[in-house]
């Protein structure tokens, strides 16, 4: 290793450091740490779209107390390691006041260990996860926890009278929800007759789908963020109803399901074809900006920024992080749902937050059913 090489690699780094330092100016900065590349990009990109829309609207309406809102956008590549590196930069070098994101559970769990000791508010697009998160009171959750998701799905199964239920879940996110759901069978009078797992990287889950179908279930619950299992279930000739978690309720994934998408029921939040009153404005603004309909991930991104800015406006401009965190901790009416950040799970979503949609030819239509506690 020669000195020359050290300089070769050091120089650009040094230059970047200098640029970073000189760019410090007066706007209010928050960080957005999203997975816009890698496996979670299907969620991270819509979240980014929502975040950018919110920023645009805020700055068009006078910013945060007269100062422009600057959002530092970082991509963790769906990788918790990278999330750690990026969050350290955002917090320590860029001095952001709050963070919207991350996209994935693992990333949220990971970065909490950096932000929580500093009381920097994080508005994560994940539900509250493992036990370690219970002790973190500045990591807020914009989407339902696994347990709530599980209950929302089982509520619908109960509603349509399904007693024998098959489950097909992936090895990532689906595995986590299944971990909770597996304990709730009795509560909803449901028997899990066949539970099958497939790899996140799987290009084919036909054999698993066949096993589920062979158990002759009344309904099948799919826990995944991939289109694969739906296609496979239809390919093996499953006719029973399919109930799916909100992760697959995006136009993109539905398109990838092809013909298999028809008649799938999602327990989700934003049916843009038929929005709820508190969602109408967001849907209109989004459609104006992007020329397409949003789903709930866009809404969550939008809400996270809006809720942060609301808190920033209430707090004084140079408030300490824990004061800002305190200001976030309040009920908030979002486009996604009615949040209550004072709740124990730091999100306050309930079963009544869910809407149920039915897919027909790539379009979502609202089902009359509403779940209740």
């Amino acid at each position: 290793m020669s000195l020359g090489k050290r300089i070769f690699f050091g120089a650009p780094a040094l230059a970047m450091a200098l640029i970073g330092a000189s760019a410090a100016a007066e706007p209010v900065r928050i960080g957005a740490l999203l997975s816009t590349t890698g496996g979670l990009a299907g969620l991270g990109i819509p979240q980014r779209d929502g975040v950018l829309l919110a920023q645009k609207l805020i700055n068009a309406n006078g910013g945060v107390g007269g100062e422009p809102l600057e959002i530092l956008m970082e991509d963790d590549g769906s990788n918790p390691d990278a999330a750690m590196t990026k969050v350290n930069t955002l917090v320590h070098s860029q001095g952001v006041k709050a963070i919207v994101g991350p996209t994935g559970i693992a990333q949220t769990v990971a970065i909490g260990s950096v932000t929580q000791p500093l009381n920097i508010p994080v508005l994560a697009f994940t539900g509250i996860g493992p036990a370690v998160e219970n002790a973190r009171n500045c990591v807020f959750h914009m989407t339902p926890a696994q347990g709530l998701n599980a209950r929302a799905l089982l509520s619908y199964a109960k509603e349509i009278g399904a007693k024998r239920v098959g489950v097909l879940h992936d090895s990532g996110y689906g595995q986590v929800i299944w971990g909770v759901m597996s304990k709730l069978g009795d509560e909803f009078g449901v028997e899990f007759v066949q539970v099958e797992k497939f790899e996140l990287s799987a290009s084919d889950a036909t054999a698993q789908a066949a096993k589920v179908k062979a158990s002759e279930p009344d309904a099948v619950i799919v826990l995944s963020s991939l289109a694969t299992p739906f296609r496979n279930l239809r390919q093996v000739g499953l006719t029973a109803p399919i109930i799916s978690v909100h992760g697959t309720a995006t136009y993109e994934i539905v398109k990838a399901m092809g013909d298999a998408a028809d008649n799938i029921v999602h327990a989700e939040f934003l049916i843009a074809e038929d929005p709820l009153p508190y969602q109408v404005e967001f849907v209109a603004e989004f459609q104006k900006e992007y020329g397409r309909l949003p789903k709930h991930f866009e809404a969550a991104g939008y809400d996270a920024v809006m809720a942060t800015v609301a808190a920033l406006k209430r707090a004084s401009s140079n408030a300490a992080p824990d004061a800002l965190c305190q200001e976030v901790r309040t009920p908030y009416q979002g486009a996604f749902a009615q949040y209550d950040f004072t709740a124990k799970d730091l999100g306050g979503l309930t079963l009544s937050s869910f809407s149920y949609s039915l897919l027909t030819k790539g379009k979502f239509s609202r089902l009359p059913f509403k779940a209740s506690q």
């Binding site: 020669s2 050290r6 918790p80 390691d81 320590h92 260990s113 986590v176």
Partner: protein, 314 residues
């Protein structure tokens, strides 16, 4: 002392000095990346010893990196042991695994050995996923304690930077010793001509197996240090893609060069970062750079000085 030796030592001292003050002048993100470059140097050194000295392409290093990380995470978080015992446990398990899979697989050569290690690494990743009682699966394991020596905690990037690079320098010195020593001679000999090395009484299979185990141990050490630095581990960090990155370190550096590993590790940590300004194109640009290195620069970055010298000699 000849002039070139003196110059070399001066240059080395200067590099050391610059290295010492870097954390003070760099912003945190840069220090962070430098820590990762250090970790990657350790893991890449193992792959480099195999590739450069024995001609073995190892695509399973992320497996050993992961074993080290999970051993540390599990033994500190779940069992409550001291971090140092976790590191030793990780190295021990990795070496044992390397011996078990290396013994049969190292009879293969060339492409076949490379793809066999790729398969072994892929199988390892699957076990990381499946054994979620041990690895935490997708959620991972968080809350690892920082490393500490006599009450001094390596709990900031700057502190960890000094720790990691001290370890790197020690390992580079040890590896240089090994390569210039008797086993190193044998390794390089068998790479150049296995039959002639056999005539010199080199036990080819034994030496390949040993170096594979050593490489695995280095991977595990890097993984353990990574776990304690990041304080969080999950399966995402130990995929086949990570193995490919580790392999690229010696390829870019010039596989025969021990100290060049540092340049390779800096390259794989900083170049994607510098390219990230190009948005989605950055991975493609990185890929093109790799293909160019492989196609046009058989000796990697370490070959540049020799090429320049040859140009001037003409």
């Amino acid at each position: 002392m000849t002039k070139t030796v003196l110059n070399g030592r001066l240059a080395f001292a200067a590099v050391m000095l610059v290295g010492l003050i870097l954390p003070a002048v760099f912003e945190r993100h840069m220090v962070d990346l430098l820590v990762y470059a250090g970790l990657y140097t350790i893991a890449g050194l193992g792959v480099g010893l195999l590739l450069g000295q024995c001609g073995i392409v190892n695509l399973a290093q992320a497996l050993f990196y992961g074993i080290g990380a999970y051993a540390s995470a599990y033994s500190t978080v779940t069992l409550g042991w001291s971090p140092w015992s976790g590191i030793l446990l990780g190295i021990a398990i990795s070496v044992a695994v390397a011996l078990v899979i290396g013994f049969p697989l190292l009879r293969l050569h060339g492409f076949f050995l490379a793809l066999a290690t790729l398969a072994a690494g892929t199988i390892g990743t699957i076990f990381f996923f499946e054994w979620d009682w041990l690895t935490g699966g997708t959620l991972g394991i968080g809350g690892l304690p920082p490393l500490s020596v006599l009450g001094f905690e390596f709990n900031s990037p700057a502190r960890f930077y000094y720790l990691v690079w001290a370890v790197v320098i020690i390992l580079l010195v040890l590896s240089s010793n090994l390569v210039s020593g008797r086993p190193g001679l044998a390794m390089r000999a068998l790479r150049d001509s296995a039959p002639a090395a056999e005539v010199m009484a080199v036990n080819i299979h034994a030496i390949r197996t040993k170096i594979f185990a050593l490489s695995a141990g280095l991977g595990a050490l890097a993984g353990s240090l990574f776990a304690h630095y990041s304080t969080y581990v999950s399966v995402e960090s130990f995929t086949v893609q990570r193995s490919i990155v580790f392999l690229l370190i010696p390829v870019i550096a010039g596989a025969r060069s021990i100290w060049g590993t540092v340049a390779g590790a800096l390259f794989v940590t900083f170049v994607p970062e510098l390219l990230s300004g190009f948005g989605d194109a950055h991975q493609m640009l990185f890929g093109i750079m790799l293909v160019l290195v492989v196609t046009l620069m058989p000796d990697g970055l370490a070959g540049i000085p020799a090429r320049v010298a040859r140009r001037f000699a003409r």
